[in-house]
Subunit: 328 residues, 2 copies
DNA sequence: CTCGAATCTGTGAACGTGCACAGATGATGA
DNA sequence: TCATCATCTGTGCACGTTCACAGATTCGAG
């Protein structure tokens, strides 16, 4: 910066003001500096800026998932890309942090308190999560994708899982299906629990707990297992709501292997609108998750907090349309 | 750090030496400093360290792919996780940089020259890539995953696509298949081109160009389209080597829809050992890509260069076993 | 006992930026 | 003409480290 100042015939202070777009820079100085920057090939040193500003211009994105899920779940990738887009427009660097083992989580605590990170986006936290505790203790700008109930006043961005599940279940019943079951995955996450809640709501008095099969993860294998269990209890079942497309795909394969036709004998609906949906025959009815928008909105929320807006505890719920295709 | 020094009754210099694990720190000083660090709650300021060291302790990972592929391709996710693992063990932060539009690429050039990044890992570069040019011009530590031919002396880590393709093709012929076709995707990448080269090699004089159908991407849709084209030209074909599992899955569906049995009538082999492989009926024979290891090895190569080892132009080829399942 | 080497310690000067402050200039109004 | 104000500019200090260097201490060998 010193070289630029000399070259332009002004002082460091003026160059600094120019670079930060502040007032009180004359047109003459402006032009001289612009030319000098090109000539010198100047690139600002971010480390020095961080040092004096006490800002790192970086936002962490914590993914609390096992490695395997990180690789497979397309929503996570989209959230990541969306967040990255918004952050890089604001000249922030996104740092993706994977939290898998307890060791990872411990290291994360250090990392977050090290001043390397101005804020953090947390994806797929569970209730009672160690990461949630660490983040709220450190009191750094944060936004959650999804909303575990115990995040206090922190910002969150989510889809209305409950409403979508309600809409699906209602439609299944309105199209004449009377014995609708659910394969309810990932009940330890708010997303999974809310989808079940919407299902239960919609059925009201007609709800029968034996028509729900809980499985651990949003995976194809869990879908197969869940469907087998459900069929064993209710061979006459005529509708299935699965917590994810992968689960639905597993269910479809088991149903078809048992000789049932879809959608004639059993209607199936998934969740995510992932690549699984179009691979099923017939194509899956499902819920489109605006994953990119979730990432963008979460990033925007963190940036607002970094700029001084206090977190109000209000969250944003994004729209997630149900896509009706051939499977129900 | 000053506070720690005062608390421990030593000087900043001694604290610095202690923190960096250098020689010439007495046991007394060591213990006093350890206690003081805990008491003061000291966390080193990385910005200040970067400033004086001219090191950012960060490595960029550039993914030159359209956003959609980034989300879908499980290999990229695994490479990313592997690299992250090695880097974070060495206390380096990984910054994932997505290059999609030309605008992204331009911004990337600035970014890389800004001193924010000590080195860079490049995934899925093509020959004649603008990113490759930028990286070699800037002369920063770099490692490629895959090996485009024009990366000069830069380090690379790849699998032996050619040898694997050769093995597959040979085995298809040895099991009695005489009219083996190939759906050759992504010929603009070295991975795609090498798989085709291995196929061609293995056939030798028996090679028939009309048995190869080139398609743009490693996708399911391209697999369907490629298979239809191949079948139209060679209805009597009895083996197919597809450049990826997604392509193979598309091919399988088209073949089965046309009434052909797999593997009795046509043998099919994919590439990647991704989740597509187990979803096919019968399960796909395929090649296991050690994607995590690719990431780890690339990260290690960059770290070596950062530590001063010059790039020798030698690459690493990792083993990729062929997994024989039901489809061939 | 002396000298040199090895070990340990403290000090001051960087690194490249932002910011507060003081000073300079020109315009405006009394 | 002089005070007031807005605009513009330059200077020195601070941010929290690392590193080179000089000084202090200890130890062993001659």
């Amino acid at each position: 910066m010193h070289d630029v100042a000399v070259q332009a015939g002004v002082s460091r202070g003026t160059v600094s003001r120019f670079l930060n777009g502040q007032r009180y820079v004359s047109d003459d100085a402006r032009q001289a500096i612009e030319a000098a920057i090109v000539k010198v090939g100047f690139v600002p040193n971010r480390a020095a800026r961080s040092l004096v500003m006490r800002r790192s211009q970086a936002v962490g994105l914590i993914v609390h998932e096992p490695h395997s899920l990180f690789v497979e779940d397309p929503n996570i990738g989209s959230i990541l890309l969306g967040a990255n887009e918004t952050l890089s427009e604001a000249d922030y660097q996104m740092a993706t942090l994977i939290a898998d083992s307890p060791r990872d989580i411990a290291r994360l605590g250090n990392y977050l308190s090290g001043g390397l990170i101005d804020g953090v986006i947390i994806v797929s936290a569970r209730e009672g999560d160690a990461i949630t505790r660490a983040v709220s203790r450190l009191d750094i700008p944060a936004a959650y994708v999804g909303h575990p109930r115990d995040i206090g006043q922190a910002a969150y961005v989510a889809i209305d899982n409950r409403r979508a599940a309600h809409a699906i279940t209602t439609r299944l019943r309105e199209t004449g299906r009377s014995r609708v079951g659910m394969i309810a995955a990932a009940l330890d996450r708010d997303s999974g629990a809310d989808r079940l809640a919407g299902f239960t709501d919609a059925l009201g008095d007609a709800f029968d707990a034996s028509l729900v099969e809980a499985v651990p993860l949003y995976s194809y294998g869990d879908g197969q297992a869940g469907m087998r269990a459900l069929l064993a209890r209710h061979p006459d079942l005529d509708g299935v709501f699965a917590s994810s497309d992968a689960v639905a795909a597993g269910a479809v394969d088991v149903l078809q292997a048992s000789g049932r036709r879809i959608p004639e004998d059993v209607g199936v609906v998934g969740f995510d609108d992932s690549s699984w949906a179009m691979r099923c025959e017939p194509a899956l009815s499902t819920v489109r998750q605006p994953a990119g928008d979730l990432g963008r909105a979460a990033a925007a929320a963190v940036l607002r907090q970094i700029d001084g807006d206090p977190a109000t505890g209000e969250g944003t719920l994004l729209d997630c349309p149900v896509i009706w295709r051939g499977s129900a």
